[in-house]
């Protein structure tokens, strides 16, 4: 399924990430997944939270440069070859992946992986066709 991810431009200074987590905690926003893309002088923090609209407002009001991006949340079986199976499906159907990271969410024996794909509609279609994202609730 398609979910909202929040991306935050992070100055490469000590304590900046802590300021983000502190701000989210203060507003009782629960983090469900996060990853940082790092370059020499800045980072892009990507997070998935339980209340994305509120989180975006809180972050912007707090002086952060942030925006939302739509990504795919995909169920992956938590066993050897689980991710390989999804990747194979994506490859066969020409779903190009820009990046992916794993969320804390767990449905029984399945993990939830966040995919940023080049063509969101195509990705969503493939996910639905293969029954990969039906039960995800982030």
């Amino acid at each position: 399924m398609i979910i909202k991810q929040i991306s935050i431009f992070l100055e490469n200074v000590a304590g900046r990430l802590a300021e983000v987590t502190k701000l989210l905690a203060k507003h009782e926003i629960n983090l469900r997944a996060m990853t940082i893309a790092d370059t020499a002088d800045f980072g892009i923090l990507r997070i998935v939270v339980d209340q994305p609209d509120k989180a975006l407002k809180v972050l912007r009001d707090g002086g952060f440069t942030a925006k939302t991006t739509e990504v795919l949340a995909v169920e992956v079986e938590d066993r050897p070859g689980g991710l390989a199976k999804v990747m194979e499906i994506f490859q066969q159907n020409h779903v190009n992946i820009e990046y992916l990271y794993v969320s804390l969410e767990k449905n029984k024996d399945k993990a939830v992986v966040i995919f940023k794909v080049e063509d969101l509609k195509l990705g969503q279609k493939i996910v639905e066709e293969h029954g990969l994202g039906g039960k995800v609730s982030l």
Binding site: T39, D41, F42, I44, R60, G63, T65, A66, K67
Partner: protein
Amino acid sequence: MTEYPFREKELELIPKDQLEELQLSRLKTTLSRALKTDFYRQRLIPLGIDSPEAIHSLADLQSIPFTTKEDLRIAFPYGLLAVPLEETVRLHASSGTTGTPTVIYHTKRDIAAWSDLVARSLMAAGCTKRDVFQNMMTYGLFTGGLGLHYGAEELGMLVIPAGPGNTLRQFKLMKDFKTTVVHATPSYMLHMYDKLGEAEVNRADLHIRKAIVGGEPHSEDIRRKIEELWGIEVYNCYGLSEMNGPGVAFECIERSGPHLWEDSYIVEIIDPHTLEPLPPGETGELVLTTLRREATPLIRYRTRDLSSILPDPCPCGRTHRRISRIKGRTDDMLIINGVNVFPSQIEEVLMRMKEVGNNYQIVVEKSGALDKLTVKTEVTPEIFSDDARDLNAIREKIRENLKASISISPVVELHEPGILPAWEGKAKRVIDIREKSV
């Protein structure tokens, strides 16, 4: 067709060869006056320049050394006085809060010539004797107030010598006397507009139609902003106390760069590093020679202002060439790996790019034996992308645009808004730490 007003039409439209003839004859007069001063005698006679006959053409001016602000300090108080003290009627001086002050003396004829020049300027800007002129510049040792005051009177305008500040009183004067033209700094024009509401003044009750702005460098964007806010025409006025004050260069109704009055000054643009002359169009230090001043003649005075001579003629037909808006001070110039870089060039590039926020910082440091230039810019919410490739592409575009302008390739950094010093105010936007890191 546009009707251009002229006060001294023949002189303002003088053919170039006749202008040069006039300049040469006046330059000789300036030189003979200069040779009456202690300062120039000591400097020029050892070089074999002991009479105006040492100059045969305008090109010979190049053989005379520059005069600097420091020279004016050395010559303080009477070293550059070319007439007996009883012939002088006024002086203007720098405040001298940071060291020895500098002083410029004027004879009665100097004041008259200066007033004429300002009257000519005001008329070129479309002012007439029917205008009511509210002068909001500082009167006193500073030349801005008195310079325009005398010129406006000479033109026959009704002058209100309001002086600066006290915005409520300014509005009252403007309403009571139906002020049509004001003279102020650009920042004061913006400040006054902000205060209209607070002062409960309705713009429609004011008769202001033009503003003469000067006294501080400002961008074309600021001019447009003042014009749009007030619904008036804004004219750029250039001058410095060493060259009398306001009225050295003034915009005509085309408002496309001030005409430098070449019957009164010889203008040169030099590379402030090599001191070599630069051709029209290239930015460098403005160097001026007085051609009419009796009491304090100055030859090849280095203004420390950065400008360029605009190569194209103005549609108004004046042969007196236009200079560009002042782009900064030579004091601000950075020499990076042997290349002259002005922070204003960097600012221009950044302000032109919609991808970049208003704030920036320039850092120069040593990297091994070489200088390293870093330009820090802001990632605004509008341009922020989740994709690092997009951000890197923006950074690369900024770098390329900067390189095209300043001929060296800077390191461009992207930062969060709020981290860099604010665009307005006295924030330090240039940090040169080369000495420390050697």
